[in-house]
């Protein structure tokens, strides 16, 4: 160290006192930097319009939106959330006009409508004729007979598991979660709704979210009994990494959206809907009421519902999903037959629509007889045990 320091053990001796000249030079440097920042050219993507999208992670990926951006000379900018409540929080606290399009799960569309956040849509503007009949008038998107949201993706939730640790027979029931062979290796996606929904099905509640207070108390006990089995509670990205690195052997409340992408990359993971049943999630697009670019927002939803948009969103790099457009299935089988087979979107073999018709799938909803807060508190308590 230099000779000017006072050797008294006090770290404040490190601070040298600047003189007036140094102060003026420093102030000038700061002022110069501030002035220069005003003359830097704007980034090129800011030259055209911007479509502001509020969505789950990954939906602004160029792999999906680039054809739309090129056609309309716009930039799609996604604000990402994880969890429906987080989406509601963001849209509630953002100034009007912050978002043009919102991607919401079906159970939150009603709340968006009631809060005045989304516009009524004209069904004639969208290619519902291309969709499978089951999705042409999907519950949750049509409220009081009026359309508020266009379904673009869906999937089933049950168990995702490592195939090198568990067999297909092992995962025929949610009972596997208490099996000694997975002790300490049961992971949880850190969102109460799908996790508790699947456990509610295991507890015999059909439908799983409309249950009495007594049934809810029993569900809590069932949930809490899983604590000794738990590996950890993971945000979305960590769900993928925990299955990849083997920290978890099985995760309830998730499904193909996790397993397909990992399996494609060689990780021994699969997903299944156990005998007790599974949940269906859907994602749909709505035009925000306060958007100043409603025509552009409509064009975006039209693109995402078109065969091109459907094929691209089904194979979203962040997480894959099933698509509701039969025309999209045809395009996918023609251009990406291997991916169509992986997604179970073929016409000649058992596919996701056959599974839908079997009646084991229940639409995921927000709690009916208890408040969201009550279910959430139970989840927080469970994590803290």
């Amino acid at each position: 160290m230099n000779d000017n320091w006072r050797p008294n053990g006090d770290f404040r001796a490190l601070l040298s006192r600047p003189n007036r000249r140094q102060l003026i030079r420093g102030t000038g440097a700061v002022a110069g930097a501030a002035a220069l920042s005003g003359v830097m050219p704007a980034p090129s993507w800011a030259e055209g319009e911007t479509l502001n999208l509020l969505s789950w992670p990954g939906h602004g990926d160029a792999a999906v939106v680039k054809p739309f951006e090129d056609k309309y000379h716009v930039k799609v900018v996604a604000k990402e959330y994880v969890g429906g409540e987080a989406m509601l929080a963001l849209i509630n606290q953002s100034p009007p006009g912050s978002y043009d399009v919102v991607l919401a799960d079906a159970e939150y569309v009603g709340m968006l409508r009631d809060g005045g956040f989304i516009e009524q849509l004209n069904p004639a503007d969208y290619p519902f004729g291309d969709f499978w009949p089951e999705f042409q008038k999907f519950e949750g998107h049509w409220l009081d007979g009026k359309l508020y949201s266009v379904i673009t993706r869906f999937g089933y939730l049950g168990l995702a598991y490592r195939t090198d640790m568990l067999s297909d027979d092992d995962v025929k029931s949610y009972k596997i979660l208490w099996d000694p062979k997975v002790k300490g290796k049961v992971g949880f996606f850190d969102w109460y709704l799908p996790s508790m929904g699947c456990l509610s099905l295991y507890s015999g509640n059909k439908p799983p979210f409309d249950i009495t207070d007594a049934a809810f108390a029993k569900l809590k006990q069932t949930l809490f009994s899983l604590k000794p089995e738990s590996a950890g509670f993971y945000p979305m990205a960590a769900v993928f990494s925990s299955l990849t690195n083997g920290t978890t052997a099985v995760i309830p409340g998730v499904g193909d959206w996790v397993a397909l992408l990992l399996a494609k990359n060689g990780v021994p993971v699969s997903a299944t809907v156990p005998a007790e049943g599974g949940l269906q999630w859907t994602e749909s697009l709505s035009i925000c009421s306060s958007s100043p670019k409603k025509d552009l927002a409509k064009a975006f939803i039209q693109y995402m519902a078109s065969p091109e948009g459907q094929v691209r969103t089904g194979r979203l790099p962040a997480y894959w999903a099933s698509i509701p457009s039969k025309a999209g299935w045809q395009k996918m089988n023609a251009e990406f037959p291997a991916d169509a087979k992986t997604l179970r979107h073929t016409f000649s073999e058992r596919n996701v629509m056959d599974e839908y018709k079997e009646g084991k799938i229940f639409i995921r909803k927000t709690p009916v007889k208890q408040s969201i807060e009550t279910w959430n508190e139970a989840w927080t308590e469970f994590k803290s045990l």
Binding site: A89, Q93, Y234, N245, N376, T380, S384
Partner: protein
């Protein structure tokens, strides 16, 4: 000889110099004070105010209710998270201080100036990289198929369940805090008057005894400040308990984020934040009091 007139002019000149010096000092001190006021005290005041607001239909509403405080302070999960977070942060501070000391001692006394500068550079470099990425890389090391378990496998041991445990969370905390603690300890030790250590050795002290009875007390302030930094960083960290600890159990930072994720409960999140700030301020005041208090007693 000093005449009255000369005394008067000297006094006037002295007052003028004094005023100029005061103006210069104020111009130097005012910007950071303003910064602290605008970007620390005012937001802190706003944070306290938000603890009394309410949330209706996911919308934050100005209000004055005590429900958020009673809800959080009486919740079992909050008390568990508080004790767990405090314990882990205290353990991190102790471990960081102990682990850093040999490195800091070597850098302060045993290497030349050139090597010291290079080692300081190596300690600063991690701060240029992304902390979440560094924590994710620990998953590669500690996962069931990771490097540690592979090495154990070669010795016919394991595999061990290392991830999602408090100990791996502490590894994450040390990743964040250890470089800073080593640097602060190095500067503290290097500022100690070496003649004190030499005198102790001349009087028959063994090297170890000289370190314990002379060096550490002399560098006390810097060593305690370094430990305080480690505590503060660990107490507030979100990434390590989430990605390495698996939120099992959640720390206060994870609990705080959960309040916002699960229904826009900013007021309850603000309660947790205020409790964290009060805890850190109390701990820092106590540690600084211990650090400087003994020094004042010795000099009085």
């Amino acid at each position: 000889m000093a005449t009255p007139a000369r005394c008067l002019s000297m006094t006037a000149s002295g007052r003028s110099k004094s005023a100029a010096s005061l103006a210069f000092n104020l111009s130097w001190v005012t910007p950071p004070l303003l910064w602290q006021l605008l970007f620390f005290l005012v937001p802190l005041g706003f944070l306290v105010a938000v603890t009394f607001w309410s949330v209706r239909s996911f919308r934050l509403t100005p209000d004055f209710v005590l429900a958020n405080w009673s809800h959080i302070l009486t919740a079992g999960f909050f008390r568990s998270a508080y004790v767990y977070t405090f314990a882990l942060a205290a353990l991190t501070a102790v471990l960081a201080s102990v682990v850093a000391f040999p490195a800091a001692y070597t850098m302060a006394f045993k290497v030349g100036p050139g090597s010291r500068r290079f080692l300081i550079f190596l300690l600063v470099v991690p701060f240029f990289t992304s902390y979440p990425v560094r924590i994710y890389s620990w998953q590669v090391v500690f996962s069931p198929f990771g490097i540690v378990n592979k090495l154990l496998g070669l010795m016919s041991l394991g595999p061990l369940n290392l991830l999602n445990t408090p100990w791996v969370t502490i590894v994450g905390y040390l990743t964040l805090a250890l470089p800073l603690v080593i640097l602060l300890q190095t500067f503290a030790l290097a500022n100690v008057d070496r003649t004190l250590v030499e005198a102790a050795k001349n009087l028959g002290c063994s090297p170890l005894r000289a370190v314990i009875t002379v060096l550490i007390p002399a560098a006390r302030v810097g060593l305690i400040v370094a430990a305080a930094f480690a505590f503060v960083l660990a107490f507030g960290d979100y990434i390590s308990p989430l990605l390495l600890g698996g939120s099992k159990p959640p720390t206060l930072s994870v609990l705080l984020a959960d309040q916002v994720k699960s229904g826009n409960h900013w007021p309850r999140a603000a309660v947790i934040a205020v409790v964290m700030v009060l805890t850190l301020m109390t701990i820092l005041l106590i540690m600084l009091g211990v650090a400087y208090g003994q020094g004042r007693r010795r000099t009085s």
